[in-house]
Structure formats: C-alpha cells, structure tokens
Amino acid sequence: MNRSVAAMLLGLAATGLASAIAAEDVTSLRGRAVTDESDPAVNKPTVAVPGGFALGWEKQPPMIPHPIDKYSIDLRQNGCLKCHSPATFEIAKAPKVGDSHFFDRDGVKLDHLAPRRYFCTQCHAPQTGAIPLVENVFEGR
C-alpha cells in the first residue's frame, strides 16, 4: 500500500517535471527559440557554390551546393532524383547518387534507391551564408 502510493507520487512528480521541461523553450546560441522561424539565420538564402564544397573528411556526405527549397522529399516523390538519379544525372549534368545508396542493410543490391537512403537531407545539408557563431577550428584533410 505504502509502496504503491509512493510509486504514484513519484510518477506524478515525474510527469510534472517533464511538462515543466517541455514548457521551457529551448534556445539556440542565437538567443531565440529553436522553433522560432522568424530567426533571420533560418531564412537566409542558401548559398550556391559552382563545383560544390570540398570534402572535410573521408566519406563525408557531400554538402549540397545549391538551394533546395523548391524541391520536396515526401511520400509522393523525391525531387532530388530529378537530377541525381542514375536515369537522369547525365542529362542534368549532376553528380549521381552514390552506388552505396542502392544496397539494403544486408548488403543486397536493389534496383532502386534503398528506402533508408530516401531522405537525402538526413545526411546531405545545404549551406546558408550565415556568419558562424563560434569559431570552427576543425582541420579537414
């Protein structure tokens, strides 16, 4: 009896704490809530870099050197494939999706893009011209 009451109290306390944490907005280094879309840095235009960005380390997913706000990756289709798929990259003069993206986790080769690779922007990120908030001391290859 005593134990169950204690467990209940503990549960209640945990719920209260969790909601208190959730209510507090997570602020970014720029001093705004990360969910605040009016942040000018968020809305800064993506930079276009002819020839692309140099890789920082071996097997780095290449960064996207052009704006992607007009393409969508959704249930219907993946807009990136319009230029980067094996069927279109030559016409579009664009880099082809890496061969590794056609294998499933068991190493079986598929005749289409592996579902786990479908969401390009999970690894490949476009870049904005925002001024870095902290100095980057990373030394690439």
Binding site: A48, P50, H66, P67, K70, L75, R76, Q77, N78, G79, L81, K82, S85, A87, T88, I91, A92, K93
Partner: protein, 203 residues
C-alpha cells in the same frame, strides 16, 4: 427652288433614320460588347476561381506555399495568369473549354480531396500537354528567354536555361509541380528534359 425642296424633302428624314439606327446600333454594341468583356474579366480573377471549393481546398492551398503566391517583391501570378491565355482568340477557346469544368463541378466529380487526388495525374497531364503544345505560352507572358540575364542566375540555372534554349525545350519540360503538388504517379526519374513520358496519354 420649290422644285428642289420637293425632291430633297424625303432625304433628311431618311438620313435621320439612318443615323438613328446607326447610333442605336453602336450604343447597343458598346453595351453588349462591354458587358460581355466585363463578365468575362470577372471570371478571370482568382476570387472567381476559388469560389469553387474544388479549387479552394486543393490546388489553391498548395499554391499559397509557392513563389508565385508569396515572394520578396510581392509580384504575384494569380490563377488566370498561368491558366488562361492573354490574347482574345485563345482566351475565348479556353473559356469555352472551361464550361466542361463547370459540368464536372455540378456533377461533383472531384468534390472531395480524395476524388481530386485520384484524378490529379490526369488533370495535371492535361495542363502539361497544353503547355508543351503552346511552348509554355502563359509562362512566357512574364518569363521570356530574350529578357533573361543569365549572369544574374545561379550557375546551374544559367547553364540549364541555355541548354534548354538550344535544345528547343520549353518551360514545362523542367518546371513541373512548381505551383501545385505533383501527382502520386509522377516519377521524377522518368521526366528527364526531352525524354519525359508524361506528355503521352495514359490508358
């Protein structure tokens, strides 16, 4: 003198009647023609287009997220700017075709988002085919290769536009789904510029 007045007497009356008929004709003409054109212009507004819920809840909502609805300079392209030709003859032809859309509106063929979605590929292909056939005439009312400054474009766009111009391609060959969602059946891999399968009629 009297002889002359006798023979010329009916003349002013006939002339007056002629003038009367003529001016009445002109007046009625102006009223009807003006009225017709005013009525047609009234059907050529965004407000009119989205007075049908088929347009308002589907394609219009998608369009409000795009650059033709909201952008840096506030210049907008509304429904008729892209979907109704500007010159009179083609406009009338399109308006007559649109009576078919009225028929399907009252029949309720696409009156739910689900029904609309099921027809989307067919409807989209109708528009793509038309734009391909007219060399994207409505796009070019504003976007003209002649007036494009390739130096001001991103290198990617600049190159693609010049290649497209050389290859005789048209806007819609690359720019599908820029104002509305693409159909579920659309596959970007089969829509390479110049090799698209999406202009052919589906069975």
């Amino acid at each position: 003198m009297s002889d002359q007045s006798k023979t010329s007497a009916p003349k002013p009356r006939a002339r007056r009647v002629t003038w009367l008929i003529l001016s009445a004709g002109i007046l009625i003409g102006i009223l009807f023609w003006g009225g017709f054109n005013t009525a047609m212009e009234a059907t050529n507004t965004e407000q009119f287009c989205i007075s049908c819920h088929e347009m308002k809840v589907n394609v219009y909502q998608e369009y409000t997220d795009t650059i033709h609805y909201t952008n840096r300079t506030g210049v907008r392209a509304t429904c008729p700017d892209c979907h109704v030709p500007k010159d009179w003859v083609h406009k009338i032809v399109r308006k007559i075709q649109a009576s078919n859309e009225l028929y399907h509106h009252f029949k309720g063929d696409v009156d739910t988002p689900e029904k609309f979605e099921a027809q989307r590929i067919r409807l989209a292909q109708n528009v793509w085919r038309t734009m391909k056939a007219t060399d994207s005439r409505e796009c070019r009312n504003c976007h003209d290769f002649e007036s494009m400054n390739y130096n001001k474009q991103e290198s990617r766009s600049s190159q693609s536009h010049q290649d497209a111009e050389d290859a005789g391609l048209t806007c819609i060959d690359c720019h599908k789904g820029i104002a509305h969602q693409l159909p579920m059946e659309y596959d970007p891999e089969q829509d390479a510029p110049g090799q698209s399968i999406f202009y052919s009629v589906r069975d």
